[in-house]
Symmetry: C2
Subunit: 233 residues, 2 copies
DNA sequence: CGGCGGCTTGAGACCACTCAACAGTGGTGG
DNA sequence: CCACCACTGTTGAGTGGTCTCAAGCCGCCG
């Protein structure tokens, strides 16, 4: 009678160390939710009533600056937890989450977290590692934005996007979800104008092919050389 | 026969939910280490053999950029865990840790982590919340550096330093550990020159008093107004 | 008391931002 | 089904905040 079938989450590292009946137990409290493109999953500042596991689609998390500018925190891929505010002791969501394309996520009430953690300790381990990876990435971005000029930051951002969601095509590797110049600007601390100019010159040089909300990298190796000229050890 | 007395860590939130004999158990595997001012605790890239709990002093964590620039990740205060690379699934330290003043830390072998976590689940909860707080801070700094001009970033950085280690003095609130313009520059993604200029103007305006590696804020409220002109809700 | 690490301050250059105008493109409603 | 409009992207011109380069000063620490 579980509302969600276990096959939906089979193979996710989050549940890797949990036996089948444990997974059933965990899914019992979850509800699947559909989010249309551009739908808001939760909003910054709102009370953190649920946490989520993305099953299909793509979700963008961004933070609102006091003056109204947005900064993109990350793009969430299927298989990732998000909105785990209460796991880290926050009662409100620290960012806004919006579906980039039609998406499906499992939602648990935040109050279920403690019990889940107690019954399935490996969840804690997996979550801690995911948090650690996000912390590393945030610190790396901080380092980049502090020390590198815009072109290199954009190169790094693009490479990360490819690693997270790159799909081979005849023309090269395509970022497999819609991404605008504005998005890239908000990931790298610059403006859409500057991103547009830089992508234009890259396109002239044959490094990339881009269209409206679409970027294909023809030559990842050269892009990597742009990102790290020294080939840092 | 425990090597370290439990009174050393009494009152730390990290051990708040663990009974006395559990604390003794945890301390059994730890060794206290002294670090002289400017001593290296561990270095970025090095294999993560130990994790640490700072007891006295102050430790600076910074990351080295490919071209050699440093970025200050955080200042570690007594009571905080650091170097927990393996807890987050990293086999090497992602940053360098250096004692800012003479310091004392407890060191556990990294291999002890799993067992500790299994025997004392509340450790996991506490650590996850600490990680969450650090993630929040990193993301907030990302937002600041992406959207705000240098003066406001420095104001925010100073306010955070005060919150973490501020001591009342007749002249105002003093950052209670040595901090150079270069440190502040590396926290805010700017240069020591710009920091110097800005602190100079603040000093002229009577906002702060500063000396070599010392900053005292006379008027925190005014500084906060500089940091958030709108008084954002 | 000498030297070095930290700090200050000036001058000039430049990267990236702001402001501005316009051009595709794709979704939507009549 | 087509036309329109909002969204996305391009490109130019000008500006300015911050960096770089440079020189010198101060105050600790050894």
């Amino acid at each position: 009678m579980s509302a969600v079938d276990r096959s939906l989450v089979a193979g996710l590292s989050l549940f890797a160390d949990i036996p089948p009946d444990g997974i059933d137990d965990a899914l019992r409290e979850a509800r699947p939710l559909r989010f249309a493109k551009n739908a808001v999953v939760f909003e910054q500042g709102q009370e953190a009533g649920s946490f989520f596991l993305l099953l299909h689609g793509r979700v963008r998390a961004h933070k609102l600056a006091p003056a109204g500018e947005q900064v993109v925190i990350r793009f969430i891929a299927p298989g990732e937890l998000f909105g785990v505010a209460m796991a880290i002791g926050q009662s409100a969501y620290p960012a806004t989450a919006i579906a980039v394309v039609d998406s499906v996520a499992l939602a648990w009430p935040s109050s279920a977290w403690q019990g889940l953690l107690a019954r399935h300790p490996s969840l804690g381990v997996q979550t801690m590692q995911a948090l650690g990876a996000r912390l590393q990435e945030a610190q790396t971005r901080l380092m980049e934005i502090s020390t590198q000029e815009v072109e290199r930051r954009i190169a790094h951002a693009l490479l990360r996007l490819l690693k997270q969601g790159g799909r081979r095509t005849p023309e090269g590797i395509l970022v497999d979800f819609p991404i605008s110049r504005e998005d890239i600007a908000q990931m790298t601390g610059t403006t859409l104008h500057t991103v547009s100019r830089i992508l234009s010159t890259w396109q002239e040089r044959g490094l990339i092919v881009s269209a409206r909300r679409k970027v294909t990298v023809r030559n990842p190796a050269q892009l990597a050389r742009l990102a790290d000229p020294e080939g840092a050890s």
